[in-house]
Every structure is written in structure tokens, then in C-alpha cells.
């Protein structure tokens, strides 16, 4: 990630590519959602953008970092940012609609079937869902690993992470208070040095 890439040097693609259109943008994000079953949406988004020549790797890295800082689901934030960058406010709306629509249709279909049954779920289906939920816990753990690794490299990062965990999981403290507290402590610990 720290490779010395200058955005200006990679701004001009070698071959002329068709510029992004609203329909093309919508298609791109519907496609990203469809291949992104099971996660990895940012990686698929990057691939789709760079093969079309709509964004350089440096521009994508910028958007990706910013998507981590804004609240909300990262993949959807990323879509909104890329849409906004390529085609303004309308582009942001199209990108979000594109990345959500396939899953929304699938989720609603399954939800109506599973929650709509009058006598509750058949035992086999409930057992299956329990198995899936256990696997989802494994998925959640692997998603947490990169964040934990980066946190381990931050001064006082592990300490603050453990304190956050204890406050939320054990003491069931209000999340906004914990957020405000840890961010204030973190900002004081990591305040920019004068003269930088």
C-alpha cells in the first residue's frame, strides 16, 4: 500500500476507453453485487473499475481509505463515493441502487418464505440456518482479522480496542458515549506534532 505511486503519473490510460455512462455505472455495480456473493466487494469493485479504465489504482485507494472513515457499510459507501466521483450525485444514487438491488430481491424472497410460514420454520430448515449461522461467525472472525492487525500497529491501539470491547460487551455501555470517549482519547494520543 505504501508504494510510491503518484496519481498524476497514472492519470492518462494508454488506450482511449469509453467514458462512464449512467447505464454503464448501474451495470457495473449490479455486476459487482452478483459476483460478490460471500464478500470481497471492494476487490471486485476495483477490478471492474480498472479494467474499464474509469479509475486508476491510486484513485481507488483514496476512495477505499475514505470509505473506511465514514460510518456505514464499507462496500456501499465505496459505491456511493465512486459514483459521486465519476458522475456526481446522480452517479452516487445509481451506484448504490445497483449494488443493493440484486441482494434486496434475493433477501426479500427468502425472508417472505422463512418469516411468512404460519407454524414457524420446518425443523430441517431451522437446523440448516443454525449451521449457516455458525459458519457466518467464522466469516465475521476473518473479516475482523485485518482490522485487528492494523489496530495492533497503532500506538495504544490494542489497549483502546480491549477497553471498547469490555465497555460494549461486558458493561453494555451506550455506543455513542464509547465512540466519543475513545475518539477523544485517540485524538489526544495521536495529535499532529507541531512543525509537521
Amino acid at each position: 500500500m505504501s508504494a510510491p505511486t503518484t496519481p498524476a503519473a497514472s492519470a492518462a490510460p494508454a488506450t482511449p476507453t469509453p467514458p462512464p455512462t449512467p447505464a454503464g455505472l448501474l451495470r457495473l455495480f449490479v455486476g459487482v453485487a452478483l459476483v460478490g456473493i460471500g464478500g470481497g466487494l471492494p476487490a471486485h469493485t476495483r477490478r471492474a473499475l480498472t479494467t474499464r479504465g474509469w479509475m486508476t489504482d491510486a484513485e481507488f485507494a483514496e476512495a477505499y481509505t475514505l470509505a473506511q472513515l465514514t460510518p456505514g457499510p464499507n462496500a456501499v459507501n465505496l459505491a456511493a463515493m465512486i459514483g459521486a466521483r465519476l458522475l456526481g450525485g446522480g452517479g452516487a444514487a445509481l451506484a448504490v441502487v445497483g449494488i443493493l438491488t440484486p441482494g434486496l430481491i434475493a433477501m426479500l424472497t427468502v425472508t417472505v418464505f422463512t418469516l411468512g410460514l404460519p407454524g414457524g420454520l420446518p425443523p430441517a430448515v431451522q437446523s440448516g440456518l443454525r449451521g449457516a449461522a455458525c459458519a457466518a461467525l467464522g466469516v465475521m472472525l476473518t473479516a475482523a482479522l485485518p482490522v485487528l492487525k492494523v489496530t495492533a500497529g497503532i500506538r495504544f491501539g490494542p489497549t483502546l480496542a480491549v477497553i471498547t470491547f469490555l465497555l460494549l460487551a461486558v458493561l453494555r455501555a451506550d455506543l455513542l458515549l464509547v465512540l466519543a470517549g475513545t475518539v477523544i482519547v485517540g485524538l489526544i494520543l495521536h495529535r499532529p506534532r507541531s512543525g509537521e
Partner: protein, 172 residues
């Protein structure tokens, strides 16, 4: 029991705005299960699992929770509330990015937010474990899924579907 669509919209908007770096499961559990009583811990775990095998972002579980809380209108209110405000904020942040990238407090803010995000994720693992692991076999499936995902590059959706089949066969 059907909740007001406006209540659902506002509740889920708040949940979206306090999610950093992924699903904020501790807060989702505190608000939807304990405070509002719209869903059960079992439904929380079920919806999260379903989200893993859907195309697109994993947190489409919010649509599932919204439907449980208030039917079709609830499902749409939850989806709009969870994704709408954060997407708007993201688009606005992108347009302000050029100025923001030179802001000297930005690395500090990142260093301050990341440990918080890590703590939230760890608490989320605990919430999910309480909702989904009821037997030694379940714990084994979770451990095996984690090992497979970590060590190999098998698609996560395949592992979740495989675990569902295993769960149905074992009668978890």
C-alpha cells in the same frame, strides 16, 4: 406485532450512522432485541447468516430484520434508513476529499477510529456467538469455517451453504 414504518426508518438510520468498518452487531442487538423487542436473538443470527449467501453487501440482514419488525413497509424502511444517510454522507465526503486529504488531523482521526472499530468487531463476534452457538457441534462448525476461510481461498458463500447442509443433516 407491527412497528411504525417511521420508527423503523429512524431506528435503522441511527444504526447505520453508528456502524464503522462493518456491522455494528452489539448496537443492533441492544436496540433491536433488547430495547425495541422487534427481533429475537435467534432471528438476529438467522438474518446475519442469510446475508452471507446473498449477492451484494452482507448487511442486507437489515432488510430481514425490517421485515420481521414491520412487514413489507418495514423491510423498505429499514433498508432505506440503514443505507440512505450513510451513502449520502459518503458521496458528500468524496466531493470534499481533495481538501480533506491535506488536513493534518486526518491520520489522527484514523488512528483514533480504528481501535474503536476493532473493539466493536470483537464485541460483535461475542453477540453472534451467543445467538448462534448452542452446542459443541455448532462450535466445531464455526471453528472449521474460520480455519477454512483463513487457510484456503474457498468462497465464503460456499462455506456458509455447506454449513447449512451439515446443520440440517445433523439436526443442530
Amino acid at each position: 406485532m407491527t412497528a411504525e414504518p417511521l420508527d423503523i426508518l429512524l431506528t435503522f438510520a441511527r444504526l447505520g450512522l453508528v456502524s464503522f468498518g462493518g456491522a455494528n452487531l452489539p448496537e443492533i442487538e441492544r436496540v433491536l432485541v433488547e430495547q425495541k423487542g422487534w427481533i429475537t436473538p435467534q432471528l438476529l443470527a438467522n438474518g446475519f447468516a442469510l446475508g452471507q449467501v446473498m449477492p451484494g453487501p452482507n448487511m442486507l440482514a437489515m432488510t430481514h430484520y425490517g421485515f420481521a419488525a414491520g412487514g413489507w413497509l418495514g423491510a423498505f424502511a429499514a433498508t432505506l434508513g440503514f443505507y440512505g444517510p450513510t451513502a449520502l454522507l459518503s458521496a458528500a465526503a468524496m466531493t470534499a476529499w481533495q481538501r480533506l486529504s491535506r488536513w493534518r488531523w486526518l491520520p489522527s482521526l484514523r488512528s483514533a477510529l480504528l481501535p474503536f472499530g476493532a473493539g466493536v468487531l470483537l464485541a460483535g463476534v461475542l453477540v453472534l456467538a451467543r445467538g448462534s452457538i448452542h452446542s459443541p457441534a455448532g462450535a466445531l462448525i464455526a471453528a472449521a469455517s474460520f480455519a477454512l476461510l483463513w487457510r484456503t481461498c474457498v468462497n465464503a458463500a460456499l462455506i456458509v451453504v455447506g454449513a447449512a447442509v451439515l446443520g440440517a443433516v445433523l439436526g443442530l
